[in-house]
């Protein structure tokens, strides 16, 4: 795991090559290095990290979405990068608002992101531009709403325990 200084170096290199405003923040917490990236430059940062950086991060292990509800740019997308030569992990994170959740796809850089981006679209509603086949993957095709957002109701049925339910129907409402 690149330590705090290593993270700053990587951030510095990314800023030089990809663009000054691409890296918004670097977080090093509990031994985990996270690079916050501006939404539109995700594709370039990941491509840079894979190809031209001197310490390449050549494998994308996991791509998943998160809903930081109270925090403002609500939807976050994480890219867990792994370098097999150095047996090291690195995390790139972007934050996207709910009003227009648009992100450039990384399927051309890492083909493994195909299913995982479809799952983030299905569960959180983040649209990945340029994805070859962006459809719902887990929910039925014609399902409305994005189930894993924190404001989406949990669903299911209220469990009825009381013995006086017949007398006071749905007292818990």
């Amino acid at each position: 795991m690149p330590d705090a200084t290593g993270l700053e170096l990587i951030a510095q290199r990314v800023r030089e090559s990809v663009g000054d405003d691409s890296v918004t923040d670097t977080i090093f917490y509990r031994g985990r290095a996270t690079l916050d990236v501006a939404p539109q430059s995700v594709h370039d940062v990941i491509a840079y990290l894979r190809d031209d950086d001197q310490e390449p991060w050549d494998r994308l292990m996991s791509l998943h979405g998160v809903d930081y509800l109270p925090a403002e740019p609500r939807l976050g997308v994480h890219y867990e990068l792994l370098s097999m030569e150095r047996a090291d992990r690195f995390n790139v994170r972007t934050r996207v608002g709910v009003e227009d959740p648009r992100l450039p796809t990384v399927v051309d850089v890492h083909p493994t992101a195909n299913f995982q981006e479809r799952e983030v679209y299905d569960m959180f509603g983040v649209v990945f531009e340029g994805h070859p086949d962006l459809r719902r993957i887990l929910m039925p095709e014609d399902y409305e709403g994005y189930p894993q957002r924190r404001d989406f109701p949990m669903g299911g049925e209220p469990v009825i325990y009381t013995f006086n339910e017949p007398k006071l129907p749905r007292w818990y409402d």
């Binding site: 509990r30 493994t112 887990l138």
Partner: protein, 412 residues
């Protein structure tokens, strides 16, 4: 619900278009090797376009056993999340619980005592053997060796007896806790495990004697389902599939966690990368796991089986009668659960199907804000169309068998 079915199914599956196959054939048949099928190891739907016996195009369509586990986890306290996470990849349940516990422990910066780590390794490797046994049972059933189903299930029952002895139940035992293990192993556990190891060595010879010199098995598995190593790496495939193609990437060796560094075992690596190599790699992995369990039993350290930090671990029952603090800790843990400081963590474990990572986002309360499990079968499934295009339908079924997808993990 019925009107959703009147919409003709084909129009809604826009992804299977004929362009990818080139000129128009009137003999092309698009059928569903669908959710209910003997060879799909669960409810995986493979929309395949066939030209006679040759598979032209495959589109895996999943989601038929999606249970919204990750959403349910956000509504549970930390120690109640473990049963949910265990039911994702229901053949390697210890690995799910392990990944989650590692993630939460790294957030809490909790130090797990040595005995707990070794107990965890014993149960992880026994679970790997049980998972591979079930794979060899149903995988060879798909190819036609019915005997393997009885043999595989018979020996798998022995392993499940061990889980029942230590964890109380055959499946989803919730034996792993955040900070260690819930209970020390009962006295007779060690002898039964050693007896199991002795029988398993001979049983693996039996499997190989039945399958390895069987001409039908060799012709069905040799040379089928070959995918170049570079494509596998780009598709993010990990686990036996990647090792069979010649890339020795095993998280237990590369990034050892919870005591794997003090066991010596070898990582089996294939050469050609076809179905036969996948078969041999998994069978060899069973032997290596037996060796690990043997070494772990020999050198099992003494000491506590769970962390002494009472903020996280329940105090032992007998202490409740005497000490007031234990009672308060017990009450606090049982009613509200322990709080995890805000932060994120991602921990990965080498499950029988590949890298199984668990991402936990904690917001300081006693319930995780987000639990995501990176399931190996979900990612490995993308390599299936690469294996099947242009080959016979029979080889395609062998590829699905050797890919060993677990649909609970794929659909979460």
């Amino acid at each position: 619900m019925t009107e959703a079915l009147d919409v003709p199914y084909r129009e809604r599956e826009r992804s299977v278009t004929m362009e990818s196959i080139g000129e128009e054939h009137d003999e092309l048949l698009t059928i569903n090797i669908g959710p209910h099928h003997p060879a799909t190891h669960g409810v995986l739907r493979l929309l395949t376009t066939l030209e006679g016996e040759i598979v032209r195009d495959v589109t895996p369509i999943i989601g038929y056993v999606h249970t919204g586990i990750e959403k349910s986890c956000e509504d549970q306290q930390y120690w109640k999340v473990i049963p949910f996470v265990e039911r994702m990849d229901y053949l390697s349940y210890y690995f799910n619980a392990m990944a989650f516990c590692l993630a939460v422990e790294s957030l809490l910066e909790e130090e797990v005592p040595a005995r707990a780590q070794w107990l965890r390794v014993i149960h992880l490797e026994l679970n790997r053997i049980a998972s591979h046994l079930f794979w060899i049972a149903t995988g060879s059933l798909d190819i036609g060796a019915i005997t393997m189903l009885w043999w595989g299930c018979r020996d798998r029952d022995l392993a499940l007896d061990l889980f029942e002895m230590s964890g109380g139940q055959r499946f989803h035992t919730r034996y792993f806790q955040v900070g260690g293990v819930i209970e020390d192993i009962p006295p007779g556990f060690e002898e039964m495990t050693r007896k199991f190891i002795k029988t398993m060595y001979t049983r693996i010879e039996q499997y190989l004697s039945l399958l390895d010199r069987n001409e039908i098995w060799l012709q069905r598995t040799k040379g089928t389902g070959i995918v170049p190593l570079e494509t596998l790496l780009q598709l993010g495939v990990t686990g036996p599939l990647l090792r069979a193609a010649g890339h020795p990437w095993d998280l237990r060796k590369a990034m050892p966690h919870s005591g794997y560094e003090n066991f010596d075992f070898t990582v089996p690596v294939g050469t050609v990368g076809d179905n036969y190599d996948r078969f041999r790699v998994r069978v060899e992995e069973m032997r290596q796991s037996l060796r690990i369990v043997e070494q772990a039993l020999d050198g099992l350290p003494e000491g506590p089986y769970i962390t002494a930090n009472r903020k996280v671990a329940l105090p032992p029952r007998h202490e409740l009668a005497t000490s007031m603090e234990a009672l308060i800790h017990h009450f606090k843990l049982v009613t509200e659960g322990f709080r995890v400081p805000a932060g994120e963590s991602y921990a990965a474990v080498e499950s029988p199907r590949g890298e199984l990572g668990c991402y936990v986002l904690a917001d300081g309360s006693s319930k995780p804000a987000r639990v995501h499990v990176r399931d190996p079968s979900f990612v490995n499934l993308q390599a299936l169309p690469e294996m099947a295009r242009g080959h016979l339908l029979a080889d395609f079924i062998t590829c699905v068998a050797m890919l060993d997808p677990i649909l609970g993990g794929v659909d979460r």
